[in-house]
């Protein structure tokens, strides 16, 4: 275990080296001291992702656009999926954006520790900085692709309203969900590389278990809907559509979703902090 305390007399931080023991609490102060590192890691992720790509950052625009095109053709036009009285492209895109935010953040954070093994085995910093920075990088992508959504909204004459402010807590919930699951998976992946093979599959199943291509109404209300709400992305997507487009407001499912995220996050942090001490030895 390591910790830093500041001495009053000469301002030199004293670092203690001790054997790792159990739950150490979340050292937010230390994490804050390393905020610039988190910033630079995020910046590196974004920079590197679009380097040597001819289309560069426009990939963040093209990806949701092309996906929505396919969804509209298959689910909107061919299968005539109901879309809560919204034009299907707008209906799908308003779910696809928070979903892609979540999926990108989850995918990248789950392999982040192994991908940064060279850092972990050589230099000390709070290990949380790594999954955190991948989640932040996904947020930047999200903000870029949000422009597509704005364009589509204007095309269908949906004007922004004050209700849109609810988007902020809902985006936060999506990020926390990704972080919570990402903490679990990234720490597990350090020891068991099976995880990185499972992640794409998990994401695929999870997508169909979330109301992206279909509306939440097709799940019967009552106990089934509550069970469905155990998937935190249900609350996120339902809330996102409501805050942006004024569909039916979130109900109990939102609370259940938030509760699940909280449990996942706290347990994920616990597991991560407990395993953190051994990352350098086993990664």
């Amino acid at each position: 275990m390591t910790e830093i305390t500041r001495e009053n007399k000469d301002q030199t931080p004293v670092i203690f080296l001790r054997p790792a023991k159990g739950w150490l609490g979340l050292d937010l102060r230390e994490l804050w001291r390393y905020r610039e590192l988190i910033f630079f890691l995020t910046w590196r992720d974004i920079k590197v992702r679009y380097k040597q790509a001819i289309l560069g950052v426009s990939w963040a625009l093209l990806q949701p656009l092309l996906t929505v095109l396919i969804f509209t053709m298959i689910f909107g036009i061919l299968l005539k999926t109901p879309s809560q009285n919204l034009p299907y492209p707008l209906f799908a895109l308003s779910a696809l954006l928070p979903w892609q935010l979540f999926a990108t953040a989850l995918q990248r954070s789950s392999v982040s520790l192994v991908g940064n093994a060279n850092l972990i085995t050589k230099i000390y910093f709070p290990r949380l900085a790594i999954p955190l920075s991948t989640v932040f990088a996904a947020l930047v992508d999200f903000l870029v692709s949000f422009l597509v959504l704005l364009g589509v909204m204007i095309y269908y004459r949906h004007w922004p309203s004050l209700n849109n402010l609810w988007l902020l807590p809902i985006i936060l919930l999506a990020l926390l969900t990704a972080l919570a699951v990402g903490l679990w998976l990234s720490a597990l992946n350090v020891q068991y590389r099976d995880v990185q093979h499972m992640v794409p599959f998990i994401i695929q199943v999870w997508m169909y278990a979330s109301p992206i291509v279909y509306p939440i109404d097709i799940i019967p209300a009552g106990p089934w809907r509550l069970l469905y709400g155990l998937n935190p992305m249900v609350g996120v997507i339902q809330g996102f559509r409501w805050a942006l487009l004024g569909t039916e407001p979130p109900d109990m499912t939102m609370l259940i979703s938030a509760g699940v995220v909280l449990i996942l996050l706290v347990s994920g942090l616990y597991y991560f902090r407990r395993m953190e001490k051994t990352f350098a030895d086993i990664v």
């Binding site: 030199t12 080296l17 050589k122």
Partner: protein, 427 residues
């Protein structure tokens, strides 16, 4: 008495055997072992730290202190625990047992260029690497020009580092690390890389750090660098600290560790020797005039040094020679078997076979003391076949040497018998 910047008390680190080398477990392994473990639960309570053969202590009970401004050398063979110790000091990994206290930032040159991203430019990597090493952004801004100047890659600063030559890459990486200004600097084998000029710069930076009152831990296999840069050195062997002493004594102890016989060195067990190579060293010996292998020779009697080696194919222009060095790292002389032009002509082509090159060290040449012998086999400016800078150490006893009627130490590594003439100048 000032407080030490590093204080370690019984620091120990245990690893499971295979933990470092093997691929990480897969879930299948875990399932099988947990079944086994469940069976074992009833027979024995397992603890995290046990002394069963599947665990090894990479470090055991390491205790020492380092003061401000001190340069401490750390020597030990591969696997002695040097890297583990540095990892614990730089907080990369935690000790299994023990306690330590560090006052100030630890800057590590453990692996320069950690976190460099090949796609990013030199400029971008300076910021990224700086942040990873623990520098504030404002600090990097302030030192940016200095870093670029030190690295000598100013022209390419906006080029992705993947297009850098390895030398440029290294210089840039070192430049960032060298400007970290930590209270404690950990240096591990950086001297093995880069050209001579750059190495000189690195060494200069290191002594600056020490002179500014910060502590330096210097790990190296290069004994002459250790001797030049440190006053005190600790010797690690199999995870234990076997010695902490003034550097010459520690180096001497290290060099003699595990030698089969005093005064003799065999390379056949040495993992670094390629047995199929053109030149294979076999043995190096120090012999007294009676031809016996000895650890201590007498300066007044003279002695000889012989090197046995095997050539697997013909080499032209080969020269096999020795370096003599004091334990303080000063060279006494260098000599090759074909320095004599006649011998060179005779042995200009040496065919396959076993050879002995032996040289006589004349009486009344060496001063008393402990010396290090290095070996070199090369062709001038073409190829170096073999080099071992610290092949063997031996002692020279000065009994009977010039001037021993006065029992005082004489300065200098040589103690030649010179022909003095004394005359009275009449006026």
């Amino acid at each position: 008495m000032p407080e030490p910047v590093i204080r370690l008390e019984n620091i120990s680190k245990q690893y499971r055997i295979g933990m470092l080398q093997e691929r990480p477990d897969t879930l299948r392994d875990v399932l099988t072992t947990s079944v086994k473990r469940a069976g074992r639960l009833f027979t024995r309570r397992s603890t995290g730290r046990d002394d069963s053969p599947s665990y090894i202590w990479a470090l055991k009970d390491i205790s020492f202190e380092v003061e401000r401004g001190q340069v401490l050398g750390i020597v030990g063979r591969n696997g002695a625990g040097k890297s583990t110790l540095l990892k614990i000091l730089s907080r990369v990994t935690d000790p299994t047992l023990g306690f330590g206290e560090i006052r100030g930032r630890v800057g590590s040159l453990l692996e320069v260029g950690t976190g460099f991203h090949p796609e990013l430019s030199g400029r971008e990597n300076i910021y990224l690497n700086g942040a990873i090493l623990g520098m504030r952004r404002e600090e990097i801004d302030r030192k940016f020009d200095e870093i670029v100047e030190f690295s000598e890659v100013a022209k390419f600063i906006d080029t992705p580092v993947k297009r850098f030559s390895s030398g440029m890459y290294l210089r840039l990486a070192f430049a960032v690390a060298a400007h970290l200004e930590p209270e404690i600097l950990v240096v591990d084998e950086v001297l093995a890389v880069g050209d001579a000029e750059f190495q000189r710069k690195c060494l200069g930076k290191m002594s600056d750090v020490a002179q500014e009152g910060r502590a330096v831990l210097f790990v190296s296999h290069n004994m002459s660098a250790i001797l030049r840069l440190t006053q005190e050195t600790i010797v690690l062997d199999q995870g234990k600290m076997v010695m902490r002493a003034p550097t010459p004594d520690a180096v001497d102890h290290y060099l003699n560790m595990g030698l089969t016989k005093q005064g003799e060195r065999y390379w056949d067990q040495d993992p670094y020797i390629l047995h199929g190579a053109d030149f294979v060293p076999v043995a190096l010996r120090v012999l007294n005039p009676a031809g016996e292998v000895v650890d201590t020779v007498n300066a007044a009697e003279g002695f000889s040094i012989e090197l046995v080696y095997q050539l697997t194919k013909e080499i032209s222009g080969l020269r096999v020679g020795i370096y003599m060095m004091t334990t303080r790292g000063e060279f006494v002389f260098t000599s090759f078997d074909t320095d004599d032009a006649r011998l060179y002509d005779r042995y200009v082509n040496r065919g396959p076979g076993r050879y002995i090159s032996r040289c006589e060290i004349p009486p009344d040449l060496m001063n008393e003391g402990r010396y290090i012998l290095g070996v070199n086999a090369s062709t001038y400016r073409i190829q170096r076949y073999f080099q071992d800078d610290k092949a063997l150490t031996f002692t020279v006893d000065a009994t009977g040497a010039p001037g021993t009627q006065w029992p005082e130490p004489r300065l200098g590594p040589v103690r030649p018998k010179l022909a003095w003439k004394i005359g009275k100048v009449e006026r």
